[in-house]
Amino acid sequence: MFAEPCLPVPRSLVLNRLILIAGASRSGTSLFSGMLNALGAYVPQPEVVPDDTNPRGFSEPRWVVEYHAKLLRTVGVQVADARPDAWAKTAEIAHNRSLRVELERWVRRQFRHGDHVLVKDPRLLWFIPLWVRAADRIATPRFATVLRHPLEVIQSQQTYYVAWHPNNRAAAWLNTMLFTERATRGHLRAFVPYDELLGDWMLALSRANAAMGLQLVENATASQMRLVNQLVDPSLRRSDATWSSLGVDQRLVDLTEDVWALFNQLNTAGTVGTETITGLDSARAAYVELYGFAETTAQSSVFAAQRARLWSLLTASRWSPNQTPLTPTMAAQKLAARARRTGLRALRQLGSGSSSDGTTGPPPVTSTEPQRPQ
């Protein structure tokens, strides 16, 4: 009998730290990323340009934002999607070899600039398995989620982005936070309280640094610490919104508050007793059930909206008084054919594995969601 050879862990996996910020937009991820960046973590360039919604910058690599946006478009998932079945839609992407290789090449290039690479994009949470696979031979991924009270997150989203109904915002918060927590279990991770980031950021950073096994705090210089201190804007304080002022349904409020309480039981490293984990599992199940109820209840509205859209699409451009009137069934068939053609085209583009250099391609991405007109 021979002993199984013990393969040494590649040095790069020990030294290279891939920090992935996974969490809802407007939850303080830009502030946290900016602080890690100030402490020496490398944010891949070029970045998304700052705008009025985030004048201090997003710390989001433009290539990643465009890469994620393309994937989300392909599978028809929104950045803040409330549908529990959206996770199944993005799941397949992790198994797409050409997409993974494309990402792997990009990740490898970033580690030429340093041993702590920071990637932040609110879309990232949809592709956690893909990132883990892409980093397999390059770096150990570590995840950070900023915990900001959902009421403040929703209020901020309503202020800066095109308004969806606050019910949907609350549902999207539940969906993304609950499933992100589930997806990052077993990995090095940090849950960073937003209030602590504003009130005692050095302590918050130190805890997150330890939870994720980083070396940023240990190596920080006085200038870097000075920079971190200057990132916190004292006006970044809590909003005065209430659930009732936002008009969120009580069932969503109750579930959201329960989940928020569970998240607050997590320590920074997200390693807690089984009771909290069981609670989070139950909360996910409760959310899936609640969403299913809402979806089935609203089926008539969904059907009517689909038909109205389909009708307007086809009649606006094609119908003339001399044509045979278009029945809903014919319209549905035509739309399905069009969707098939569009989908095939998109898949062909994705499968080609063509490089999406951030300097070419679609117009610059400037924010995470459509913004409100100023």
């Binding site: 009130g199 005692d200 950021w201 050095m202 302590l203 950073l205 130190s206 705090v217 240990e218 190596n219 920080a220 210089t221 006085a222 610490m225 000075r226 201190n229 200057q230 804007d233 004292p234």
Partner: protein, 295 residues
């Protein structure tokens, strides 16, 4: 970023931080000394400072060795009582290291808060952070005297080299030339200058792009009494773990080496053969050779 008044989380209004701008006629420099049990060092610290700056604000943090009385007495001997303000800060302040990290910066127990409160007492154009064991040399006094007019037209950061001096007795001391510390010790008393929290201690904050004014190599030295506990203000002494605590690790090693009767590398023994105290001897300009020879 601008400093703002701070209410402490304990709700102690008398100790809220309320910043005030420089007062006309108050002068250029105030040395702010935050001290705890520095009675032994102050007789060497205060006279030189009084020759170098217009005002001294001494904040006593629960000393039990008569530090405030010594400060007043020494100042009286220099006939400068009107230039010394002694204040009490009656709170246990977290020690450097993990204890500091765990303390919220808006607590009266935080070093960050303590510093902001202390510096909010300054009324001159510039403030100097000064430790209760830092002795100005003759060269240092001269440099500060000149700075009082040289700084009139500029907002800059004053950087001062500082060497540790380990005092064994009135006749014998050791100068460590193996470590030079060039920290920022002075800055304008303006809205964009205040203290923030660092990982082990407080850090001064200022706007980017300011010029640095560097003082001569032998401007001052820091007294370390070999018969005292020089590390009591640290909550842990695992200095090797961080790049920032390299200087402390060196001090720890030299301090314990000397206590054990060993002369560590790059440390020079200085003996006063005459009637002068060895500290007075080290204040003289030619003592700079102890630092330069080995540094």
């Amino acid at each position: 970023m601008l400093r703002r008044d701070i209410r402490n989380r304990e709700g102690l209004e008398a100790f809220d931080v309320q910043w005030r701008d420089p007062e006309p006629g108050a002068g250029m420099l105030t040395a702010v000394l935050r001290v705890k049990n520095e009675a032994e060092s102050l007789p060497w610290v205060i006279p030189g400072l009084l020759r170098a700056v217009e005002s001294i604000v001494l904040i006593d943090n629960e000393s039990d060795d008569g530090t405030p009385d010594v400060a007043r007495q020494v100042t009286k001997e220099q006939r400068a009582e009107d230039r010394l303000e002694v204040l009490q800060y009656p709170f246990a302040v977290s020690r450097c290291g993990p204890e500091h990290l765990e303390t919220p910066p808006d607590s009266v127990s935080s070093l960050t808060y303590f510093y902001n409160w202390s510096f909010s007492r300054v009324r001159t154009r510039y403030c100097l952070k000064w430790d209760g064991d830092m002795v100005l040399t003759v060269d240092g006094e001269r440099a500060f005297d000149e700075l009082r007019w040289q700084l009139e037209g500029v907002d800059g950061i004053i950087q001062i080299p500082r060497y540790p001096v380990y005092v064994e007795s009135a006749d014998v001391a050791y100068v460590d030339g193996g470590v030079t510390n060039r920290e920022p010790w002075g800055w304008p008393n303006k809205a964009s200058f205040f203290h923030g929290k660092g990982f082990e201690w407080e850090i001064p904050l200022w706007p980017e792009g300011l010029p640095f004014v560097r003082l001569p190599e032998w401007t001052c030295f820091e007294l370390k009494w070999l018969d005292a506990d020089e590390f009591q203000h640290w909550s842990n002494v695992g200095f090797e773990n961080h790049t920032r605590t390299g200087r402390k690790a060196r001090e720890w090693s030299v301090f314990h080496g000397l206590r054990d009767g060993r002369l560590p590398p790059e440390v020079q023994r200085v003996v006063s053969a005459g009637p002068d105290h060895v500290i007075d001897l080290l204040r003289q300009p030619d003592a700079a050779r102890y630092a330069r020879d080995v540094g």
